[in-house]
C-alpha cells in the first residue's frame, strides 16, 4: 500500500529511472493462481472430462474410455435406474432451500432495516449483530452433529426435556418424520445464514445516499414507505448477489443433511450433493455418474443464476420506459 502511494507521488521522477515494481505483483498473486489451477481448475476440467467416460471405479479413473453422453442419458432417461434418485434429490434440495431462503431474506431485511433506521436508534447494535452472526462461525458439520445428538431417539436432550415438561408423553422419533427432518435442516440453514445475509443487507443500505432518506422523510414518508419505495429498490443489486450466492450454496447443500440425517428418512432429505457423494465415494465408485451429475448441477445453477439476474435487471428499464411514455 505504501509502495503504491509513494510511487504515484514520485511518478514523474521515477519514470525516468524506469524502475518498475509491477512484476513483483505477479509473484504475490502467484500462490493463489498455482493452488487454484492445481486444485480447482484442473479438478473442474477433469470432472467435465470424466462425465463423458466410463470411469466407474478407481481402476478405471486413469484408464477410461470416452463413451459420449451415455451418463447424461441415464440422468435424463425416466426408465434408467438413477433417474428417480437424482431428480428426487434435486427436489429435496430445492424444497429445503426455499424453506430456508424465504424466511432468511425476510428476517435479514427486517433486522437490517431496524439496525439502519435513523429514527429507531437501537442500543447495543454491535452486541446484537455479533450474537446474530455467531452461528455462522461454527462449521456446518459440527452443527449437524450437535443437532443429531440433540434430537436423537429415544434418549436425547430434546426428548427428555419435552417429557419432563409434560409436553410429550413418549419420546418422539424426529428423524423418522420427513417434515420434521426437512424442517430442521431448513431451520439450521436459516439460523446459520440469516446473520450473514443481514450484514450484507446493512452494508447495502448504508451504501445508499442518506440524502434520499432525508428527502423522503421531508416529503412525509412513513417508515414502511421508506423501506418499500426507497430502500428496497436501491439495494436490488445486493439482493441479486445474495440470491445467487444463496442459490449456489443451497443447491450444493451437503454437510448438515449428511451429518444429521444421512439423507433419511427414506431419502427425503437426500440432496444432490449427497447423491453425487454416494455415487462417487461409496463402493463401487461410479465417478462417471457422479461427474455427470455435477455437470448437470453446474448447468442448472448457471441457468438459474442467469434467469435471476435477467429478472432483477429487466424491471428498471421497463419502469424507465413507462415513465418516458
Amino acid at each position: 500500500m505504501q509502495n503504491a502511494s509513494s510511487s504515484t507521488q514520485l511518478s514523474p521522477k521515477a519514470k525516468r529511472k524506469s524502475i518498475s515494481y509491477d512484476k513483483y505483483g505477479y509473484l504475490f498473486v502467484a500462490p493463489f493462481f498455482i493452488v487454484f489451477i492445481v486444485f480447482q481448475l484442473y479438478s473442474i476440467c477433469f470432472t467435465f472430462y470424466t462425465s463423458v467416460t466410463d470411469a466407474a471405479g478407481w481402476d478405471k479413473i486413469l484408464n477410461n474410455q470416452v463413451i459420449g453422453f451415455e451418463n447424461f442419458r441415464q440422468l435424463f432417461d425416466p426408465s434408467s435406474k438413477i433417474f428417480n434418485y437424482f431428480w428426487g434429490s434435486l427436489g429435496n434440495t430445492v424444497i429445503m432451500w426455499l424453506f430456508n431462503f424465504v424466511p432468511q431474506l425476510g428476517m435479514a431485511l427486517l433486522l437490517a432495516s431496524w439496525f439502519t433506521d435513523s429514527r429507531l436508534r437501537l442500543k447495543f447494535q454491535g452486541g446484537f449483530k455479533v450474537l446474530i452472526f455467531m452461528p455462522n462461525i461454527i462449521t456446518a458439520a459440527t452443527i449437524g452433529m450437535l443437532f443429531m445428538s440433540l434430537f436423537s431417539y429415544p434418549v436425547a436432550p430434546v426428548n427428555t426435556l419435552l417429557q419432563q415438561f409434560g409436553i410429550s408423553s413418549a419420546p418422539i422419533e424426529y428423524f423418522r418424520s420427513t417434515p420434521i427432518s426437512r424442517g430442521l435442516i431448513s431451520f439450521l440453514q436459516w439460523w446459520m445464514w440469516y446473520g450473514n445475509t443481514m450484514i450484507i443487507m446493512i452494508a447495502g443500505i448504508l451504501g445508499i445516499n442518506p440524502s434520499l432518506f432525508e428527502a423522503s422523510l421531508v416529503d412525509g414518508c412513513s417508515s414502511r414507505q421508506v423501506f418499500w419505495k426507497v430502500t428496497l429498490p436501491l439495494i436490488k443489486p445486493i439482493l441479486l448477489y445474495n440470491l445467487v450466492t444463496s442459490l449456489v450454496g443451497g443447491l450444493t447443500m451437503f454437510d448438515i443433511p449428511h451429518m444429521m440425517t444421512q439423507g433419511g428418512p427414506n431419502d427425503t432429505t437426500n440432496t444432490v450433493a449427497r447423491f453425487i457423494y454416494t455415487q462417487g465415494f461409496n463402493t463401487p465408485n461410479n465417478f462417471n455418474i457422479a461427474s455427470a451429475s455435477s455437470v448437470v448441477l453446474f448447468i442448472i445453477i448457471v441457468i438459474c443464476s442467469l434467469i435471476l439476474s435477467a429478472i432483477m435487471k429487466d424491471r428498471e428499464p421497463r419502469a424507465v420506459r413507462r415513465a418516458a411514455k
Partner: protein
C-alpha cells in the same frame, strides 16, 4: 484435504529417498496402515529381531475414506513405484475390496506360504482374507475378532433364575429361544429391562448366519436368513422388547451402565474398548480395572456383573488384515520377497510373537495354536466377567463363524438394507414387499453392473 494429501505424499517421497540412500545393503519395506497399532508392534517386537530390515511406516486415517483413497490412487497410477507400499493393512470394512482385486499378492502362489504354516490361522479370518473371485489367499490377520453375547448375571438370576453361563446359553441357543427369553425378561422386569437395545445389536450375528453373501455370480442375493431377521426385529419392536435405540447412541451406552438392557452382542474389542469403559456412570476409557471397579462401587455401575456366552450364532465383527502389493512382489528380488513373507508371517503366524503379544496386550490373536497354548496354561480369568475366562469363550465363538459370506459389497449393501428395509419395516412404515422393492431399486442405482431381479 488434497493439499494435506499432497504434502504427506511429498514428505513420504522425501523420507523414502533418504532412507533408501542411507541403507544400501538393507532391505526396505514400505508399510501403509490406518492407525499406529502396527507401528507400535513393529517397534516393540519386529525391529529388535530384524536389524537388516528398515520399515517406512505411513499412516492415513480411515476417516472420510482417506486411507482407501490414498491406496487406490497410488495403486491405480503406478503400483510398482518406489513409494508404493510393499505391505499394507486392511480393515474389515474394505478388506474384501482389496483381496478381490488384482492389487494384492497371492500369499501361497506369489510369496510361498505353505499349508502347514497356515494351518494355525483361525478359519474365519482366513476365509475373509481369501478372494471371492479366484479363491486365492490374499490377507492374514494377527487378531481374530469373534463376537459373543455378554449378559448381566444379576439380572439373569433375578428375572430368569439363571445362575451359570451354561444355563444362560441353553436359554438363547437359537433365535426362537432368544425371542422367548426376551419376552420373559420383559415380563419379569415389568418392562424395566429389555433384552437388547435395537436392531443394530443382533444384525452382525444374523448377518453371519447367511449361507450366501450379498452377491453371487454378479447377482444380488437376499438370503432367507435376512427375512428371518426382519421377522425377529418386527416382533421385538411390536412386543416392545427392545430399548428402541441404535448402536453407539446414548441409550446404547446407558444400557451398559444401568439395568435397562439385559445383553449385548460384542466382539473381542467391544468387550475391552466399548463395554468396559462404559460400565459405570462415572467411568471412562483411561481407567484401569481397579479404578473401574472403584468407580462402579462408588457411583453405580455394572463392573463384574457381566458374563459371556457364545449366544445363538457365531460371528465376527471387525479385524485388521495384512496384505502385500502384487506389483511390488512381482518386481521384488528373492531376498526382498522373503522379507515380505517373513514380515507377514511374523505378525500373523509366528507363535513366539503372538503368544508374547497376547500376554502383553490381552488381545485375542489369530492363531489357534497360540490360543490353545494360552487356554492350556489356565486362560485369562477376567474380573470384569466375574472371573470368567474370555479367551475360552472367544475361542469357541471364533471357530463357529463363517467368513466366506463376506463380499466387497457389504458395507454399502448393509447400509442400504438398514435404511430401506430394516428401519422402515420394523417401525411399521412400509409393507415388506414395498421395502424390498425400495432396497432393490437403491441397489440397482448404486451398482449399475449388478443383476437385480
Amino acid at each position: 484435504m488434497k493439499k494435506i494429501l499432497a504434502l504427506v505424499l511429498a514428505l513420504m517421497l522425501l523420507a523414502g529417498c533418504m532412507s533408501f540412500a542411507a541403507a544400501e545393503e538393507q532391505i526396505t519395506l514400505n508399510v501403509w496402515s490406518f492407525t499406529n497399532e502396527l507401528e507400535g508392534m513393529i517397534a516393540n517386537y519386529y525391529a529388535p529381531n530384524h536389524p537388516n530390515v528398515t520399515i517406512n511406516y505411513t499412516i492415513y486415517p480411515t476417516d472420510g475414506g482417506a486411507y482407501t483413497t490414498a491406496v487406490d490412487t497410488l495403486l491405480a497410477a503406478d503400483a510398482a513405484s518406489e513409494e508404493a507400499p510393499d505391505v499394507f493393512t486392511l480393515e474389515a470394512a474394505f478388506v474384501k475390496k482389496y483381496v478381490n482385486s488384482d492389487w494384492t499378492a497371492d500369499l501361497i502362489g506369489d510369496l510361498g506360504f505353505t499349508e502347514e504354516e497356515l494351518a494355525v490361522a483361525i478359519p474365519v479370518m482366513r476365509q475373509i482374507g481369501t478372494s471371492n473371485v479366484n479363491g486365492k489367499l490374499k490377507g492374514l490377520s494377527w487378531q481374530a475378532t469373534p463376537g459373543a453375547l455378554m449378559y448381566r448375571a444379576s439380572l439373569a438370576e433375578k428375572y430368569l433364575g439363571v445362575t451359570s453361563p451354561e444355563e444362560m446359553q441353553a436359554l438363547v441357543a437359537d433365535w426362537d429361544l432368544f425371542l422367548e427369553t426376551a419376552a420373559k425378561v420383559n415380563e419379569a422386569s415389568e418392562g424395566a429391562t429389555k433384552m437388547i437395545v435395537g436392531e443394530g445389536d443382533i444384525w452382525n450375528a444374523y448377518n453371519f448366519g447367511r449361507s450366501q453373501g450379498w452377491v453371487v455370480d454378479g447377482k444380488l442375493v437376499i438370503d432367507d436368513v435376512l427375512y428371518d431377521f426382519l421377522d425377529m426385529i418386527k416382533t421385538l419392536e411390536e412386543d416392545d422388547l427392545t430399548n428402541k435405540g441404535g448402536a453407539w447412541t446414548e441409550v446404547w451406552f446407558q444400557g451398559m451402565k444401568t439395568d435397562s438392557t439385559f445383553c449385548f452382542f460384542l466382539p473381542t474389542w467391544g468387550l475391552h474398548y466399548t463395554l468396559k469403559p462404559n460400565c459405570g456412570l462415572t467411568t471412562n476409557d483411561t481407567m484401569d480395572d481397579a479404578a473401574l471397579q472403584a468407580a462402579c462401587e462408588a457411583d453405580g455401575g455394572t463392573y463384574g456383573d457381566w458374563r459371556m456366552i457364545a449366544g445363538p450364532m457365531g460371528y465376527s465383527w471387525g479385524g485388521t488384515w495384512i496384505g502385500a502389493n502384487a506389483a511390488k512382489v512381482a518386481a521384488a528380488s528373492d531376498a526382498k520377497k522373503a522379507a515380505i513373507k517373513d514380515f507377514i508371517a511374523f505378525f500373523t503366524l509366528s507363535e513366539d510373537f503372538l503368544y508374547q503379544y497376547a500376554k502383553d496386550s490381552g488381545d485375542f490373536v489369530g492363531s489357534n495354536a497360540v490360543v490353545e497354548k494360552i487356554l492350556a496354561e489356565g486362560g485369562t480369568p477376567n474380573p470384569f466377567l466375574g472371573g470368567q475366562d474370555h479367551y475360552a469363550i472367544f475361542a469357541e465363538a471364533a471357530n463357529l463363524a463363517n467368513g466366506s459370506i463376506m463380499t466387497d459389497y457389504d458395507e454399502t449393501m448393509n447400509n442400504l438394507w438398514r435404511d430401506n428395509v430394516t428401519t422402515p419395516y420394523s417401525k411399521g412404515e412400509v409393507e415388506l414387499d414395498a421395502a424390498i422393492a425400495n432396497f432393490k431399486a437403491a441397489v440397482a442405482a448404486q451398482f449399475p453392473e449388478l443383476v437385480v431381479e
